[in-house]
């Protein structure tokens, strides 16, 4: 038994997942567990032409990009047909990124034709049943390099990955991106950020932050081993969700002054009750600057 054979194929993509993973500090140690037969930018044993025209072995298939059945050809062959050829062979199919998983940003060009590989937003595609037993979803725009390496190494070590109904690993997507956000005291006490570019305040009330209802571990496993959107004052845009990208991304939609969308699983009544309580107190510390220079 040799190493599992790994193939990375792209359809309608920006290469963001490729470059996200390329930044993994232990990239080559992870790849050492596999025989890399094709990759979009790394040197590999086979060329894309060979992958398309001949039949190359494949144990683990990574898919990047939105899926379209017809109209996207590489060397005269429909990309969809190449993908299905290898999907049949593979023991594991990993959809890396929101495009490959749900359809993502490029779906919006032709919503009726373009989708994810096994899901169209959250509906199962015609391919779902055939490939469900080997499917692992890793949504995110792009996929976090450590999320992908986790799945690859679990596969290489022959360990079972626990997944949810959309085939996302629960250890990664059981969390919301809100968990671990350094602003969450402001969330608890309903203190909004007065502008962009401030250390203080929560971005959920005005700036459109979707973290409280977005699944993902961006604030647990940091980006570039360093930070995250909300840690630098950027709202979460819900890029791991099947509905990404929604519209009016820097703006919180409200009903009668209350955010229209509630934190995951929180009933509106519970949220309102809590808001009523917190708003009846004025906590001095939360109205002050976190720290000041030249005081």
């Amino acid at each position: 038994m040799g190493k599992p054979k790994l193939l990375w194929l792209q359809s309608i993509s920006c290469n963001g997942n490729t470059h996200s993973f390329l930044n993994h500090p232990e990239l080559f140690s992870i790849l050492a567990h596999f025989e890399l037969l094709y990759h979009p930018v790394l040197e590999t044993n086979y060329s894309l032409q060979e992958v398309i025209k001949r039949s190359v072995p494949c144990d683990v298939l990574i898919l990047e990009g939105s899926f379209v059945q017809e109209g996207f050809l590489k060397v005269g062959v429909e990309v969809s047909s190449t993908i299905e050829t290898y999907a049949k062979k593979a023991k594991y199919i990993i959809t890396a990124g929101t495009c490959a998983t749900f359809g993502g940003i490029f779906k919006q060009k032709e919503p009726d034709k373009i989708s994810g590989f096994a899901f169209d937003i959250e509906e199962k595609t015609v391919r779902y049943t055939q490939y469900a037993s080997k499917l692992i979803s890793l949504p995110g725009c792009p996929v976090h390099p450590r999320w992908l390496s986790f799945v690859l190494l679990m596969v290489a070590n022959g360990k079972k990955i626990e997944i949810d109904r959309l085939h996302r690993p629960v250890e990664l997507y059981g969390y919301t991106t809100h968990m671990g956000c350094i602003r969450n005291e402001y969330f608890e006490w309903k203190v909004d950020a007065k502008n962009f570019g401030l250390k203080e305040g929560c971005l959920f009330y005005e700036q459109g932050c979707q973290a409280p209802f977005t699944r993902g571990s961006c604030n647990k496993i940091l980006w570039n081993d360093t930070s995250s959107k909300t840690r630098v004052g950027t709202p979460c845009f819900g890029c791991t969700e099947s509905t990404f990208p929604q519209s009016s991304l820097f703006f919180t939609k409200t009903n009668m002054g209350i955010p229209a969308k509630m934190p995951l699983g929180v009933p509106r009544r519970a949220y309102l009750t809590l808001t009523g309580v917190t708003k009846s107190f004025k906590i001095k510390r939360f109205s002050e600057r976190l720290l000041e220079y030249n005081k």
Partner: protein, 433 residues
């Protein structure tokens, strides 16, 4: 000898392109460059909030997403200005944007050097070393994008630059960490890329001093020189730069003349048999990218190389690697002088312009990137993106061949031509946004 046509798939160029070569008398006479799939980002943006472009447009490209963010942001800020709402950025916000953008360019240049140029050159001349160049690319790329992420939250696909400033409010702790990562990158440039001290490298201003360069750049120069490749790949010898920055000048350079440019004269047109659009400036084709920036800014070592070798692959390749030093230097200076006490964002949250038209320009790794937005009642009604690869890879006009095509004409083999093609660092996804 009859004309022979050969079709070749060029891969690992941020996607793929198909090249149709026409040979005549053993030399390449013409090339058609075809890109496959139009993804329609410009259409996707229609009907969305003006600011949504800050999230959507980075998704044009996984390797130069940050440049798209800054271009889309500048388009909005330009539109605000034209609608007479002044956006007065703090120098802190300006410097942080410049810093993160520079980090992305460094990442691009280094990946191109180690994942495209060195391995492709070795294959072309039939001297493959056993070296894993990609590990060097990955190391430097993850180091410098980590510095970027300290301010921007993540790379790829950050949207931390907002209208009126930046969303982050960094501390000295952040700056110190970023400085340390820049120092690490400079060390890499010294020990691995050039084999000499950074100061010593920066002082190089003439081709006479090039033999001092060791490291991977030294090896690259030696391989090009010893294989008679220093003069191949010449094109129109015309350069254009649209983006202004602390290190670059916006102008065009033809012969010894440097003159002003205006984006109003940039014309985009649809081409046959490809989804990529072509661009020209006053009916002439220009090269964009590091070589153009070096020429227009009159960087001594680039002018010196150009004097001898014109716009050959040697000048083009050197200019791109050399630019890493310029960028690392500016990164270092920007961090050293960053004034944290200033505000990060100067435009109040509720200050919004609902009707405007704006143009945003930025120097991306591969050259000038232009975004144009038209907004009515807060919604985007039209959006245009002109990417660097469109300049370098257009099919050409009736009068003249495209920049990369002209560079390939005269090549004696497909291998030679495709290597020349790759010196332009083609980005397929950007070309087919």
């Amino acid at each position: 000898m009859k004309n022979i046509a050969i079709k070749q798939l060029i891969e690992k160029i941020e996607g793929e392109a198909e090249l149709d070569f026409t040979f005549s008398n053993g030399q390449i006479e013409d090339v058609k460059i075809n890109f496959g799939f139009y993804r329609g980002i410009e259409d996707i943006l229609k009907g969305k909030d003006a600011r949504d472009a800050l999230v959507i447009t980075p998704r044009v490209c996984g390797i130069c997403n940050h440049a798209h963010l800054i271009a889309s942001l500048r388009a909005i800020e330009d539109g605000y200005k034209r609608a007479r709402v002044e956006v007065n950025l703090s120098s802190k916000a300006k410097d942080i944007r410049e810093f993160t953008l520079s980090c992305e360019l460094i990442q691009n240049h280094i990946k191109w050097l180690y994942m495209t140029i060195l391995p492709q050159l070795e294959s072309y001349i039939g001297q493959r070393s056993e070296e894993n160049y990609a590990i060097k690319a990955s190391y430097l790329s993850s180091t410098i994008t980590k510095a970027l992420a300290i301010f921007a939250g993540q790379w790829p696909h950050s949207s931390y630059a907002v209208v009126g400033g930046v969303s982050c409010d960094p501390t000295h702790l952040d700056v110190i960490q970023a400085q340390s990562l820049v120092e690490e990158s400079i060390r890499f440039f010294e020990k691995v890329v050039t084999g000499m001290s950074f100061e010593e490298y920066l002082s190089i201003d003439s081709i006479k001093e090039l033999p001092k360069i060791q490291g991977d750049l030294g090896k690259l120069l030696y391989l090009i020189g010893s294989n008679d490749m220093a003069t191949i790949g010449k094109s129109h010898d015309r350069f254009i730069v649209f983006g202004e920055s602390p290190i670059w000048v916006s102008a065009k350079s033809v012969g010894t003349l440097r003159s002003k440019v205006d984006t109003r004269y940039v014309k985009e047109s649809i081409q046959k048999n490809t989804v990529a659009k072509a661009v020209e400036y006053k009916k002439r084709l220009y090269e964009v990218g590091s070589l153009s920036r070096g020429m227009v800014a009159k960087r001594p070592i680039i002018k010196s190389l150009h004097k001898r070798y014109k716009d050959s692959i040697l000048t083009r390749i050197f200019a791109r690697v050399d630019e890493v030093s310029v960028l690392l230097n500016i990164c270092k200076n920007l961090l050293q002088n960053l004034v944290l006490e200033e505000p990060s964002c100067t435009l109040p949250l509720n200050k919004m312009v609902l009707n405007f038209e704006g143009v945003g320009i930025v120097e991306a790794a591969r050259g000038s990137l232009i975004h144009k937005t038209k907004v009515k009642n807060g919604k985007i009604v039209n959006y245009e993106i002109i990417t660097p690869t469109q300049w370098n890879l257009s099919h050409g006009t009736k009068e003249e061949q495209g920049v990369a095509i002209k560079a390939m004409v005269g090549a004696k083999s497909i291998e030679e031509a495709t290597f020349i093609f790759r010196t332009f660092d083609v980005c397929s996804v950007c070309t087919t946004q």
